[in-house]
């Protein structure tokens, strides 16, 4: 018998409604794009969970290593001037 082949792994992102960001909801297996889209609709939007779907091949996603690899995000810690709380505003000044 042919070796079993369950297809390609895809990651699925759903937009709950217009204007909202697309959020990862899970993954699925499919053999091509059309099948991935149909399966995503059947699997993740049976109860009005959204009206927009993005699908990406899992292999095509570039991701950072892991939270254990803290050094990667170090540069964000030593640049406190990126936060508004870093700046002093004279008393009485508003709307800034």
């Amino acid at each position: 018998m042919e070796k079993d082949n369950q297809g390609i792994l895809w990651e699925v992102f759903i937009q709950v409604k217009a204007g909202r960001p697309f959020k990862h909801v899970g993954s699925l297996h499919a053999y091509d794009k059309e099948m991935a889209m149909q399966s995503a609709r059947d699997l993740f939007t049976r109860r009005n969970e959204g009206n927009g779907i993005w699908i990406v091949k899992a292999d095509d996603i570039i991701s950072s290593q892991s939270v254990d690899d803290e050094a990667f995000f170090d540069p964000s810690n030593d640049k406190v001037y990126r936060h508004p709380t870093f700046y002093e505003v004279p008393d009485g000044v508003k709307h800034i």
């Binding site: 082949n5 369950q6 899970g26 091509d32 049976r46 892991s66 939270v67 254990d68």
Partner: protein, 313 residues
């Protein structure tokens, strides 16, 4: 040997309720436990479609047929969510199916029992899904991120499963004598298997302690079982049904129901696959898989053909 320091840092994350993600370091035993537990959970969702599917063509009305179909479709989805969660641990889907077919992977033994009457569909939704929900609500807090996220999604979908089952029981319990008897008979047969779904007592459970320490499980088998019994008994009494356990009594002092001894020999027989249904369930799954292989082959051929056209265009 695994780095003691890494293990310590791992436990510290667990203790601080920080979820573990696929690329994070984890002890090999944590990974193996999850692979076993999540895939077993996935197989249960999928095999669990069989006893219910048995009544699809004979559901007593179009309404009940549509509901049962929607419920079974949800269970298929649960299986798929869980296979994907399990795959993040580095095992491929093909492998999980192979282990199931070879009998190396287990599924919940409750699905080995036959569904003899329409009332069994009521009892499954009410009791089996009811027990599964108690377990799954607790597992939303599991320490492994992908498993936890799958549980949250599954719990949202489960909410109608128990109600549709209970509604069947209510209808039968309020029906003719014969219908009431049918409901009672289904409760009699499904009560103990549902209670056994929570697994062995804490004292006899091989994996429990480590799983609790790693927060793979958040509550012990006995705690979850008690929760289920406390919730469910009232629901049965309310519609005039009785439970097949003479020792089942409200314990005012403890604030819980006391219940009788569980027949674990029966449980282990069914777990080890001697249950009449086990062979049938696996054979059916294998057959569906093999008979469906032409669909996979055609889908692959079609995808390849389209890729080639795109490349040459």
């Amino acid at each position: 040997m695994e780095d003691a320091k890494k293990l310590e840092a791992f436990q510290a994350k667990i203790d601080a309720d920080i979820k573990i993600e696929p690329k994070d370091w984890m002890p090999e035993k944590y990974r193996q436990t999850l692979i076993r537990q999540i895939s077993q959970h996935a197989h249960s969702e999928v095999i669990g479609m069989q006893p219910e599917g048995n009544w699809l063509t004979r559901a007593p009305s179009l309404r009940s047929k549509k509901i049962l179909m929607a419920k079974i479709q949800d269970e298929a989805g649960h299986g798929l969510y869980l296979y994907c969660a399990a795959e993040t641990l580095g095992v491929k889907r093909e492998q999980f199916l192979e282990w199931l077919h070879e009998g190396k992977a287990k599924y919940s033994s409750v699905f080995n029992y036959p569904t003899l009457t329409w009332a069994d569909i009521g009892a499954i939704g009410w009791l089996v899904d009811g027990a599964a929900i108690v377990n799954q609500v607790s597992l939303q807090g599991t320490s492994y991120g992908p498993y936890s996220r799958a549980m949250v999604k599954i719990c949202m979908e489960e909410s109608f499963h128990q109600r549709q089952g209970y509604e069947i029981m209510v209808t039968l319990a309020n029906g003719t004598d014969e219908q009431k008897e049918m409901a009672q008979d289904a409760l009699n047969r499904w009560w103990w298997p549902s209670i056994m779904m929570f697994g062995p007592h804490d004292a006899d459970s091989a994996h429990s302690n480590q799983s609790l320490k790693w927060k793979i499980k958040r509550e012990s088998n006995d705690e979850l079982r008690q929760k289920f019994i406390d919730k469910t008994v009232e629901q049965g009494l309310h519609i005039g049904l009785t439970f097949p356990d003479p020792d089942l009594k409200w314990n005012e002092e403890k604030g819980h129901y006391d219940f009788g001894a569980i027949d674990w020999d029966e449980f282990w027989n069914v777990v080890k696959g001697y249950g009449a249904g086990n062979k049938k369930r696996l054979a059916h799954h294998k057959e569906a898989h093999e008979v469906g292989s032409w669909v996979r082959e055609a889908a692959i051929a079609y995808a390849n053909k389209k890729n080639n056209i795109q490349k040459s265009a």
